[in-house]
Subunit: 574 residues, 2 copies
């Protein structure tokens, strides 16, 4: 805790030293408009998908770290000195620059004070909206009148698809078209291609986003990154900020940025408030409308309070006070908040998951994530759970990644046989009973849902299919096959190799299934499950117990992994 502390009352983590060893991130928004934001205002925004609906560009694992982001430069017109309302990217000496960053539930607040100018920037996405707001308060703490210029900075992708934007440069460096009218920047990609609203996953959608501000006059703009930064410069010393005056550049191709300039004068003690708004939609239509809505800034506090109420309301199902204040902070705020965020996107949008491999819900991950949120958001959890159950194909295995915006139950192709993970559907036995126990909704077991590919069944029927899948995919000793992976993605045992992890999952599944069938009085099933369990246990005792430990796995050729005889197998398993 050298860099901050938990503020339990506000349910915030307060970062008092912005020079954290790694970027710390928070999330804004909802599963419509989402955003990642770091303690130095780095990060990106997206619509529905971090990979497929990218609104702001970010460079992963970059030097310097966590750039670019949502920057607000302040420049003293008298001296030419400039800084940012977040410590980075200008990074004034921390002897002169005071910083406090508050990560709250669905919002981030950047407080700074430098050269007698105090700023507070609150970033949040109003509930259910497809835009983000940076609410900026700037005040003069000194005794002299101050003339300041403010410059916003965001960097735009050239394509709706984030990976194309980063890598397919021979294409995406030609597909950007920036515009500006009446105080609103328009960011367009592939603007000549007709939009296909039903095909969200089409990577070349022509899309517009807007950037505007209210509460002050826009006195200039730039939209061309190279013009704003200047050659061989960085976010730490942009040419336009150094010179103090925007040039009105309009990028067409290359790299776009969103810079609006506003010139302010602050009397001693005076505070001014400005709202920057960035969101999905064209400048001419959506941008104008949204700006009009915030013509008076009085809405901002209400909408911010609503976000806080919304999130705190999602975290009320469980709380506890123990003698350990740090433990209390974790269980009452940080664990549920992170579990809820993970439920939304964490493994598709972060500083580590770049949306290259996965633009959707990993089957087993998403199942596991549910356990952490069932008690807080049972309705949303139920909806997600049903989505995942419809990701099971009629063979009993699962589609490894479910993409919510394009998933079509009853119409999906089953995965290739060699793509099945052995564990995926067995996680149903951890999650579904937990959901029923939490909600008392025992009728859920009998709800009918489609399989991913064809046919339908009760949820109990889906669960049995999961068991049958593993009973029918067995290896050389009759134990469950490891297939493409068991829970360990690096353990590729194939059809012949056998996973003890899965075998024990299957034990739990059979026991759990027996109990459910007993309670629901489904005839014959409990008996079947218990008999099958008995056979499995006999196999486990015979083949997997070495007298002291259970093995970890049998390799495809019968090699024992995790046994005392085969230490090699403990290291190299791929």
């Amino acid at each position: 805790m050298k860099f901050g502390f938990f503020d339990d009352e506000r349910k915030e983590y307060v970062i008092t030293n912005p020079r954290t060893p790694r970027s710390w991130i928070n999330y804004l928004g909802n599963t419509g408009y989402g955003a990642v934001i770091t303690n130095n205002a780095g990060g990106y925004s997206f619509y529905r998908s971090a990979g497929q609906g990218r609104i702001l560009r970010f460079r992963f694992n970059s030097v310097p770290a966590d750039q670019p982001g949502r920057y607000i430069y302040l420049r003293d017109r008298a001296t030419g000195d400039y800084w940012t309302t977040s410590w980075q990217p200008v990074a004034k000496s921390l002897d002169l620059y005071r910083s406090r960053v508050r990560f709250g539930t669905g919002y981030a607040v950047f407080e700074s004070e430098y050269s007698e100018i105090r700023s507070e920037v609150t970033c949040f996405v109003p509930l259910g909206q497809a835009y983000e707001i940076w609410r900026i308060k700037i005040s003069n703490k000194g005794k002299k009148k101050r003339d300041l210029s403010l410059f916003t900075y965001v960097e735009y992708p050239g394509n709706w698809n984030a990976i194309d934007d980063l890598l397919n440069l021979q294409y995406t460096q030609y597909t950007l078209q920036m515009g500006y009218e009446d105080g609103i920047i328009d960011h367009g990609t592939n603007v000549l291609i007709p939009e296909m609203p039903d095909k969200f996953e089409e990577k070349d959608q022509g899309r517009h986003t807007f950037l505007t501000l209210t509460g002050a006059e826009v006195t200039g703009f730039d939209t061309d990154r190279e013009v704003f930064l200047g050659s061989y410069r960085t976010y730490a010393d942009p040419l336009i900020v150094e010179q103090g005056k925007c040039t009105g550049s309009l990028a067409a191709g290359d790299n776009g940025c969103g810079t609006l300039q506003s010139d302010l004068t602050l009397a001693p003690g005076e505070e001014k408030e400005i709202a920057v708004i960035l969101g999905v939609g064209s400048a001419a239509e959506t941008g104008r409308k949204v700006r009009e809505k915030y013509r008076s800034l009085s809405l901002l506090q209400d909408e911010f309070d609503e976000i806080v109420r919304y999130w705190h309301g999602r975290m009320t199902a469980f709380s506890a006070q123990t003698p350990d204040p740090a433990f209390n902070s974790m269980i009452n705020m940080w664990f549920p908040y992170n579990s809820l965020t993970t439920f939304s996107w964490a493994r598709a949008a972060s500083l580590v998951y770049t949306a290259d491999e996965r633009d959707g819900l990993g089957y087993r991950d998403a199942m596991q994530d549910l356990i952490g949120v069932l008690h807080n958001i049972p309705e949303e959890a139920e909806e997600r759970l049903e989505l995942l159950i419809t990701g099971q194909v009629s063979s009993g295995g699962a589609i490894p990644v479910i993409v919510p915006f394009s998933h079509r139950p009853d119409k999906e192709h089953p995965p290739a046989e060699e793509e099945y993970r052995a564990d995926d559907c067995l996680w149903m036995f951890n999650v579904i009973p937990a959901y029923v126990n939490e909600t008392g909704n025992t009728g859920f077991y009998l709800k009918v849902l489609p399989y991913a590919d064809r046919g339908e069944d009760t949820i109990l029927g889906h669960m049995k299919k999961a068991i049958l899948f593993n009973l029918s995919h067995t290896g050389i000793h009759g134990l469950p096959s490891g297939l493409k992976a068991d829970w360990n993605d690096c353990l590729r045992l194939g059809r012949d190799g056998e996973s003890l992890f899965v075998a024990f999952q299957l034990r739990l599944a059979l026991q759990t299934y027996a109990g459910i069938c007993s309670r629901l009085a489904v005839s014959g099933e409990e008996e079947w499950a218990l008999q099958t369990l008995k056979k499995l246990d006999a196999l486990l005792d015979k083949h997997a117990w070495d007298g002291e430990w259970f093995l970890r796995a049998y390799g495809p050729g019968g090699e024992k992994y995790g046994s005392r005889e085969n230490e090699e197998g403990n290291i190299y398993l791929n």
Copy 2:
């Protein structure tokens, strides 16, 4: 020419102002070990493939531009002042820092002078070797003894696969293992996975590269990027250089770097020479051997001279002196040099092609590239031409991208029907006769080569198959279909739509084929070609001539593109 000039005698472009508006790049090496290097020493190295055999990391379209690269920091131990032997990344004021960069044929020379220290760094790959050398000369131009420390910097990928390194961070941030012994840094990725030399395209190959230096003592090292740079710092102000002393860090996972420190003392007027060597192979085996080879530095000049002779020898087939010196520079040096480079890799390795979409030879591109080099390197051109001809499948269409290191003629799967480009194999008619005309090798037409998928034919037979492919893929008016694309990748006309570009290619093909068959006295073929041409011409006159212009295309529904009636079609064609 505000940034430099052509040195015709040395066949170099000399950059006198390093602040070029964009990064300018040169290439080192061969199709084994290759490297991209910018005028500020940015860029990357690779083995056989920029995508699949990545040795140094690079961030594309980054801020600041063209980082990282091959950096040599010099630090004055008396004052703590430091700079780099290339202008970037430290970027001292150009009032104080003199820079001259010479881009030659297969080498780059960075000359600098700052605070009375002159440096000259020559980067090249010795002929046929899998390592690069940075030959460094440092001299003291002042009147005082100088104590300097030198620090190398390169940044390593965590994986052999460049895209995985950039994006699959949840994996590749765990697969790096740096080592050091006796003055040699070892960079390892996936070191626990056995190497599979026959499966070059396996992205998770365990691989080692080494970095060492000769001519001076190694006095320290660092291999952990975060340790070398320090948090929130950049290549412009690395912590280790600022502090002046390496710490011996060994990265395991995260990000690796190659920093060797050497401390030098230079008497007034004294010059010292050091060679940094970086290449494929482990420190313990290859690194030691290569360092031993360069224990005396006398080899360096010979090997450098050999590279110059080799490249200049590849550019002798055509030269001309005209009254325009700039034109002479272009046709005698820069055009052939660039054509030769393009022949090797340009569309798989550059600052724009990131190896995400294409790790191989685009069929039509590679065909066209041949035309520029046939006269200079006819044997290599013939070999490439034969490779491409074996990329034609027995239907007459082509595999759109040929990957030299994994291409297996007679065993490839044909592309899906909807993947065929309409123009690919018609480029044979531009290239094959040009090759024969250049070399006089008329027997080439009768050489038998396999198709990509099955069967074989004479090259003349391959050419006829190309014609038959387009004659059998026709649209609503009997003109050649546009398929997935004609030469314009954005023009997707499909099977029903028709491309006039391809129709005129087909005219050329038929005429050319008739001429060849006439010269080779192949019975009946000339007649067939001329008759077919006549029919095609009749169709062209009837359907494609609007009285003033030829159309550009017919869309899939018969829409006229490029006609006076359909101006829309001139804008939106995707």
